[in-house]
Structure formats: structure tokens, C-alpha cells
Amino acid sequence: MQVVTRSRTLDPENLDTLAQWVARVLEARRVSFSEATLLGGGAIQENWRLVADVEGGPREGRHTWVLRTDAVARISLSLDRAGEFGVLKAAHAAGVAVAEPIARCADPEVIGAPFLIQAYVPGIAQARRIVRDPALKDFGESLAERLGSELARIHSITPPREDLSFLPIPMLPPARNEVAKLRNALKGATEPRPALEYVLAWLDAHAPKPEPITLVHGDFRTGNYIVNEGRLGAILDWEFAHWGDRHEDVGWIMARCWRFGNDALETGGIASREAFYRGYRSAAAMPIDETLIPYWEIMAAAKWATVAVLQGDRYRKGGENSIELALTGLMPPEMELDALDGIEALIATGDPRWQ
């Protein structure tokens, strides 16, 4: 059996309990694994590729799956695996390009943490490889257009939804609700960030008029989708999904901090803004107000700065001795600078909404 280890939760040498659990859930006689490989990426959770042989039941045959588990510590802004599975099922049913959700396990005894299993989708997700692909000039615009239309499909999911009743309906206007969530997450933070607090106060005071809420992916950006030979494979990482303002997702993928150095390509470092907007318009029931996107880009910078503070605290006080977490914890001034400059630029437009 091929085993590539860097295990924290799943023990690739001891998959019998997992196999029995999967067999029971899939109504199979027997399940065995011939490969378990820890995939890269995912600072918050582990991703394992599993090759499974299923004997009997509706899924009989050989399958390649991805098992995603919570890491040692989670940050307060993310959904648990059960929530993520529910959102994935809703997105899959709405025709969004996601890896098919197959099973979820809330019992931490099976492998040591709750997890979910999805179909494996081939391709690459690493942002730096995508934005530095020499063929990007050939596929970037069409990929961004497709991403735009996929996002519009995600935003077609609206409350009330019984299957998504675990997602709280915001009691405040969506933008103010996001600010409240970030402020709450920062309450116990180790490193005080006055600039981030300034940005949050500005965002709160200049929140756009509330619009009908939709499902918001919450982490829709380069690095969180799979590309296979220039084409979209699947949208990943649904753990930040919530009900909110659809402009939030657009601001997130456009934000400078998610262009990975390709600053001129404003859609996630891969393409023009217009390509993404074109795709969104082609599939959207409600158009987006493009003049609001710079506001949501500032929100994106504030959110990433907050997540970086929390990731740093996983090292500072969470007992996770990781150089990656420690370095992430030093990143907030980068996003804070972008946010302050974004505020300056909006004020300079003279638009009364931002004064």
C-alpha cells in the first residue's frame, strides 16, 4: 500500500475503522483502501486522497475520494464538517461545480476528528501554480468567466432553506453583520491591531444598503478551486459559507491580497474584472452593483487580516508549533495597509456614500 505520511489526525496505517464506517454508510459489504495520501494545502484542516474499493451496495467499484478533516484547532469563523457537508449538498443540487459530497462523520472516534468524504476531482488548486502558469494568458479570461457564472449559481441559493437551517440568518444588515463577526473573533486576540479596528469601524459606519441575502461561499478565490488543463474542475473549501450579501464573494476574489502578485489581473490574479462580471451577468438572477465591489474588497482585506490574527494565535496560544502559522500571524499589516488605502481611494471618489 502506498502511504505518504505527515499525519496529524488520520493514521494511514490503520484505516480499518474508517473502512468499516464507510461500508456501513454506503450500504456496502466491504470497503478497502489501497492508497491514502496527505494532500498539500489547508492550514485549517487535513485533506487526504483515498483510493477505495467498494464491494456491494449502490456505489460498488473503485473510487478516488478526498477525506477532509478538522485540524488540531479550528478558528471561530469556520463551519464544522457537518455544516460544510450540508452546504456542499445544497450547492451540488443547485448545479454548482463541486466535488460530489459522499459521506460525513460527526463521530470523532472513527479517525480522531469529524470528517467528510467527497469525490476526488483531478487538477491543481495551488494559487501560485495557477497564477504563474505560462498558459494562463490562454485560459485566464474564460476561466474567470466560468467562475463568475458559478458564483451566480451559488447566489441563486436563498433562504429560507430547511436543509440549511443551521446557517444563522443575520440579524443586522449583512455588511454590519460581517463586521460584528470579525470584531467578535478578534475579542480574545493576542496582538492588538488598532488599524484593523479602524477599518472595521469605517466599514460599519459605511455599510451599504441591505439587499436580499443569498448563500455566500465566504472563501471564493484562487486557491480554492481546481483547474484542470485550463478548465474549472470544482469549487472547494466551503467552510466559511453563510447567508449574506452576494457582493461579499465578488469583493473577496477581486481583493488585492488574493491576486498572488498578479496585481494587474484583478480577478484573483488570473483575468480582468470584466471577464468575471460577464460570466456573473450571464447566469445571475440579480445583477451585482459594481460600484459596491471596492467596499467589499476592503471588507475582504479586513477579514483576511482577522483570519491571519487568529491563525497566529493558534501558534501564540493554541499550542500548534507551526512556522507557517507563526508567519501568517505576522501578515495583518499587509491587509491593513491595503484596506486603509482602499478607504482613502473610495473617499477620493467624492461619492457621498463613502464620506
Binding site: 479602524y198 469601524a201 512556522i323 507563526a326
Partner: protein, 119 residues
């Protein structure tokens, strides 16, 4: 030939140079990211040792808390509560930005340079 002092910052500089020139080229691809993180961490530590003070931070704290009874934590709390804002502290945004510039000079000067070139 001048005699070199083997100071902490010199040792770190040498460690980074050695990592980059001797180890990184021969490392298997799955370890290159970790090696890059180690080099980055060492360089931040070296710049922190050489840091000359946090002028912008202290100037703002002195302005907001002239009695010396406030620190960055208090400032963050006071901005959140609205006690400190742009009407009470002129050019607050610019002053906070100056603090970020100081931090980035230590934590990520390359990022700072990119942003300054874009302006």
C-alpha cells in the same frame, strides 16, 4: 582586511545565505516551501534585531494618551468603542498607516516596496 564581528544578525544572515545557496537548490520540491518559510522567518528575526525603534507607534500613543496611560491594546479598544476616531485625532488614518509601514519594514519589506511602486 576588516575583522568581522560575529553578531546575532550576522549569524542569521549567514544561515539564510547558506540555506539559499547550498540547501534550497538540492532540496526535493515538497520541502522547498518549508525552506522558503525558514529563510523568511530568519530574515524577519534579523531585521527585528536591527530595528531602530517604532517612532510612528510612540508618536501616536503619546498624542492619544499624553499621560502615558495607553498602549496599543487600549488604542484598539478605544477605536472600537468610538472613543478615538478621526474627529478626535486629526489624520488618524495616516498615523495608523505610518505604524503599518514601520511594521512592514520588519515583517515584509518586499510587500511594502511593491505597494510603494504601485502608488
Amino acid at each position: 582586511m576588516a575583522v568581522k564581528r560575529i553578531a546575532a544578525e550576522t549569524l542569521i544572515e549567514l544561515a539564510v545565505e547558506t540555506l539559499r545557496s547550498e540547501l534550497q537548490p538540492v532540496l526535493p520540491s515538497e520541502h522547498r516551501y518549508t525552506a522558503a518559510m525558514i529563510a523568511n522567518a530568519l530574515e524577519i528575526a534579523r531585521r527585528e534585531i536591527l530595528m531602530e525603534g517604532e517612532t510612528a507607534r510612540w508618536e501616536l500613543l503619546d498624542e492619544v494618551y499624553p499621560q502615558g496611560d495607553g498602549d496599543m491594546k487600549q488604542l484598539a479598544l478605544d477605536i472600537r468603542s468610538g472613543k478615538v476616531d478621526g474627529t478626535k485625532v486629526p489624520d488618524l488614518r495616516k498615523k495608523l498607516r505610518a505604524i503599518l509601514i514601520e511594521e512592514l519594514a520588519i515583517r515584509n519589506p518586499r510587500f511594502l516596496k511593491t505597494r510603494q511602486n504601485q502608488q
